[in-house]
Every structure is written in structure tokens, then in C-alpha cells.
Subunit: 98 residues, 2 copies
């Protein structure tokens, strides 16, 4: 069974569009280097909902081993090292998908 | 262009598995009655990540009109009426997908 991993980010004050573009560039490489990723979508909030977080990442993987492979991959860790200093808040869920 | 709408829920203390099953039953009906939903996944958190929220809903719709049609649909509103008293916290993002 697949697992869908969702992470929502709220940026700290002062995060620039260039910083978000850098995050998008780093995340955009991951499907090409992490074979356990069977689906990967991410993007900035569109501003059509009140009180929203600022950015979403959705990773579809095969089972818990796939999730751990994604989490631990060095290129994912490198992206997280850029993301973490930008974070005011993070919300996450992993749930089963077909 | 499509929009992916994500909502993560954290339940208040005391929410029962039966209440969550009722939410799942109500949400499970929506793809059959809201034609604007081109993809719909939801489920309870698997407990494999620290500090996670408890439940996720992911709705893929066509553009902002599709998003609004989903949001405003009476069956979605009926599900929200059940969900809202169960909520300690909610996090949401809408972002563009292909």
C-alpha cells in the first residue's frame, strides 16, 4: 500500500521569493534522484484561503520503507537544511493511499 | 490548471474512532456527488512522524471555480459541520498542480 506524506510550511517573516524559489529548485530535483518517490507535488499557497500555511509538499511513496528512504535521502536532507531556518511552523500527516 | 487543496486536522482530546469513521463515511461520499473533484484522498495519520496532525484531506479540482464548487457543496458543508466541533487545529494550503 502507498503512503501519502504531506508537509505544510509557514515561513517566518522576511522570507523572500528568492528563498522560496531556491526551495522549489531543491525539491524539484528529488523525483529524479529518489526512486522511491512515485509521485511528488509541491508549491506555494495561492492565497485563496484564509489563515493558510505558505507552502505544501506532497510525496507519494511505497510503504514505510519508501517513506524512510525519502526522508533519509541526502538530497532531501540538503533541502531540509535550507528549509528549516525559514520555518515558523510545520504541519504534517502520513496516511494510506491505494 | 488544477488546484490541489490540502487540509490537515488535529482533533480535540476525547474524539473517538467512531467519530473519525463518521467523518470518513461523509467524506467518502463526496467524489460521487461533486463532479468538480477530479481526485480525492483522505485518511488518518499513521503515527510514523513526530508531532503530526491527526487527519488529512487532499482534493484535486479544476481551477478556482472547481475549488469553490467543492467548498460550497452542501454535502461538503454537511461534513464540515460534523468536523468543526472535533477540531483543535487546522492547517491548509491550496497550490497549483498540472
Amino acid at each position: 500500500m502507498g503512503i501519502r506524506h504531506i508537509a505544510l510550511f509557514r515561513w517566518i517573516e522576511g522570507v523572500t521569493p528568492e528563498q522560496v524559489e531556491r526551495v522549489e529548485a531543491l525539491l524539484g530535483r528529488l523525483p529524479g534522484v529518489i526512486p522511491e518517490l512515485r509521485g511528488y507535488e509541491f508549491g506555494a499557497d495561492l492565497g485563496i484561503g484564509a489563515g493558510n500555511y505558505d507552502f505544501a509538499v506532497v510525496a507519494d511513496v511505497e510503504g514505510e520503507p519508501g517513506f524512510l528512504a525519502y526522508q533519509r535521502h541526502p538530497d532531501h536532507q540538503a533541502a531540509l537544511a535550507v528549509i528549516k531556518p525559514m520555518l515558523a511552523d510545520r504541519a504534517a500527516v502520513q496516511f494510506n493511499i491505494d
